[in-house]
Symmetry: C2
Subunit: 254 residues, 2 copies
Amino acid sequence: MLIRRLGNYARLTPEDEAALQQMLALPIRLAHARRDIIAEGAVPRAVFLIVSGWACQFKTLEDGRRQIVGFLLPGDSCDLNNLVLRRMDHSIGALTDVRYMEIPGEAIQRLTRDHPRIGKALWWQMLVHLSVQREWTTNLGQRNAMERLGSLLCELALRLRDVGLSNGECYDLPLTQTDLADATGLTSVHINRTLQQLRASGLISLSGRVLRIPNFAALQEASLFAPDYLHRAQREARQSHGLAGAGVADHADQ
Amino acid sequence: MLIRRLGNYARLTPEDEAALQQMLALPIRLAHARRDIIAEGAVPRAVFLIVSGWACQFKTLEDGRRQIVGFLLPGDSCDLNNLVLRRMDHSIGALTDVRYMEIPGEAIQRLTRDHPRIGKALWWQMLVHLSVQREWTTNLGQRNAMERLGSLLCELALRLRDVGLSNGECYDLPLTQTDLADATGLTSVHINRTLQQLRASGLISLSGRVLRIPNFAALQEASLFAPDYLHRAQREARQSHGLAGAGVADHADQ
DNA sequence: CAAGACGAATAACATAGATGAGTTACCGCT
DNA sequence: AGCGGTAACTCATCTATGTTATTCGTCTTG
């Protein structure tokens, strides 16, 4: 699924995939649910790549208020950010039990030097992260509770679909209502109310951990969800300009 | 100031600065206040570099609600994003009269190939953008009106100081209360109330377009503003790991 | 099997901020 | 000097969401 994830961003050659397969030999680490993987302010050691389970990026204010600023799903990596900037400006925590790999900087350097398309894929992923972060900003700034929650559930549906973790209209949602609250800037009480509202209107059904969206278009419309920001459509249509314009991978295509 | 801006992120050699100077030969374009420079959904032509004036990035929901997701100050460039992804996922609009340059992809490619430190500086700038975007998400999700506005004014103070546009405690704030509202996810009415509250408590004074923060530490504390996310301190302390770990500029240091 | 612990669900009440409808002040233009 | 437009500012009212607290069910663990 890891390969599928990256393959979504750039067409990988068999050699690329082989190299990725090889990297799967890296030790797989385990973080237990609700444990932090790395804390804000820490000096990061490596790039984290989620193999299975859900993690989140979050920031904490002095007085304890906490904002989840993004979810890391299987196949996602944390921002390369932490190899360039000196300290983590946010924390990464495991929401479920998480299996992940720590990819040392040198390995990434080697991998991207020898396999430019993988480098491109990582670069893309990061640009998409930025786009997603802008959308989250908009979500919190302009949408009401129902739209916020609906948009989030739509986003997760599409992202999970892209890594093969959603079979159509259902997916496993391992988040507590408190998690949803921290991600949407609401309280858990109000998330509860809003979930019920969504259920009552037939837009979702949620029993146990399984979320079902019987009519995606309907939820999308009710939430004013516009999926363009995920930049999914163009993945396969990607052209050769790649990263060249950013002066980053111009050497890579030769 | 453009050079100073980039120089904040990476130590530039005299040659680098010369190359930048040369690029100043690019035609300078003018966007009038309140006009859009590029609209969401458009296919971007180039990277925009703000020479003078203020611009903003914003997203619009179907029903017209608008969220400003970031400000572009002199020396800032829009995300390289738009050279890699196919369509703009947000718009860029001029808040004041803006002088800017359109740097074609090839020019950036050349510049970063011949002047790796400039490439690094751009890359850094973009990672910082991502960090800032996360902070904005947190700002909207967790802070109340006064903290949101205070944090925003603090951020602008530091960013302007970095490009020499703030002489200590004052700076020119060309934003209307509606702009501030769109950036903070509040209404202009409530921005007005909140500004008065900030004035009454002596944390700011604002007459005409000139904002004055007589006691930065006080405003910072009242707003729970933690400037780390701007990654300012490390700019000069930057070490050689640069982008290597991201597999992006490893060729650049040789 | 009892004791916690945690998450979902509910309820009563409080309030920050939105809404809608103004008035006033300023500035550029003719 | 008069006009038109925009931004700052005000006020009264309303509501979406927060707060605090309690109950219930389920799972874990000793």
